[in-house]
């Protein structure tokens, strides 16, 4: 499996639909001033993988993850993050996936699966989110509505949180993953008691 793209809308400071595409071009840097939203991207990925503790996401409650508005812009009612991974073997046969722009804020009004992909065949879209799933792609979507409703989707079809967690078990992206080292995690490791550190190894085992 390799990472293909991350798409977020209404998640924390990312009010507008934002797509980040990785093209297997090597190390990716994320840069910008303090407070611009870099760590929020890493929170989004933790969240779509099934993080259930608001504290880990630097929030007091899960609803704090939904864009909560600015002086000139109202809050949204929905936070949605979609993570696309791809099986390199199956992808070799597809070939078209490489055409997307590496990062863009999708113009307002476009829904998942529309936009740059609108011109392609609709034959493959028989899933609830109307996503176009290419061969070898694994697409995970999580939604949180302001009324508290949560939804999870696998390849565009409604599923349970547990299905997502089971899918990723053993891939290094499960609940005890060390794929994401948050800002301050290093300080946490050092200031924790030795038994907490042992728990870290026990989780990974």
């Amino acid at each position: 499996l390799r990472l293909q793209k991350v798409e977020l809308v209404g998640f924390k400071s990312f009010a507008e639909r934002t797509r980040i595409v990785f093209n297997g071009s090597g190390v990716a840097g994320v840069v910008g001033p303090n407070g611009c939203g870099k760590s929020n991207i890493s929170d989004a990925i933790l969240w779509v993988l099934g993080e259930q503790s608001a504290k880990t996401l630097r929030s007091s409650r899960m609803a704090d993850c939904i864009f909560n508005g600015t002086a000139t812009r109202p809050p949204t009612n929905l936070a949605e993050v979609t993570l696309t991974l791809v099986d390199p073997e199956a992808e070799k046969t597809a070939g078209e996936a490489a055409a997307e722009a590496p990062a863009e804020t999708v113009p307002a009004g476009q829904e998942a699966g529309a936009g740059a992909e609108a011109g392609r065949s609709d034959k493959k879209r028989k899933n609830r989110l109307n996503l176009r799933i290419l061969p070898g792609e694994v697409v995970v979507t999580r939604r949180l509505y302001r009324d508290g409703t949560s939804e999870y989707y696998l390849n565009g079809e409604l599923c349970r949180l547990r299905d997502i967690q089971e899918l990723f078990m053993g891939t290094g992206l499960g609940p005890e993953s060390y794929a994401i080292i948050e800002q301050g995690r290093i300080g946490q490791i050092l200031s924790s008691r030795p038994s907490d550190r042992r728990a870290i190894i026990e989780e990974a085992a």
């Binding site: 190390v27 990062a103 870290i200």
Partner: protein, 156 residues
């Protein structure tokens, strides 16, 4: 299970020692199970010897040395259970230039197997990334622009 823990511990300990040597350019380090009254009380200490210095508990090292040792542990665990990508959020903040250099060298060694995403303010770290995602805030809303550094195209 106890057996499972011991097997994981052995591999992670090995990874930790190797990653420590890469990040410090030498020296030795080991995880040590510390005794507790009950199995649940036992903990883990990081016993480290940066090159040229004496063996000591990680807590007695300098700020930057501690950060590097903790990173060696986290990467050691990651290598035990690797995933398609790894996000490191400002782990280079307390490091001097030459330690940032060793950190970036480690990342470049692991990059063929893993998509690394490095959130950073450090220019030396940015230099090893063929693609940079620049995040800005406009009216308290985040936007992203990406810049690709090919051999063919000049940096935007």
């Amino acid at each position: 299970s106890r057996q499972q823990f011991e097997r994981a511990f052995a591999v992670i300990n090995q990874n930790f020692a190797e990653t420590f040597r890469t990040l410090f350019g030498g020296g030795t380090a080991t995880l040590r199970l510390s005794e507790g009254e009950e199995a649940g009380e036992a903990g883990i200490d990081l016993i480290c010897q940066p090159p040229g210095k004496r063996l000591q508990n990680v807590l007695l090292l300098s700020g930057g040395e501690k950060a590097l040792a903790a990173l060696a542990l986290l990467i050691g665990i990651f290598r035990y259970q690797p995933s398609p990508f790894c996000i490191l959020d400002e782990v280079d903040a307390p490091l001097d230039d030459s330690n940032v250099g060793r950190f970036t060298q480690l990342i470049q060694e692991m990059a063929p197997q893993t998509q690394f995403i490095l959130i950073t303010h450090n220019k030396k770290t940015m230099e090893i990334a063929p693609v940079l995602y620049g995040v800005t805030m406009q009216g308290a809303v985040s936007q992203i622009v990406s810049v690709r550094f090919d051999d063919a195209a000049p940096a935007a």
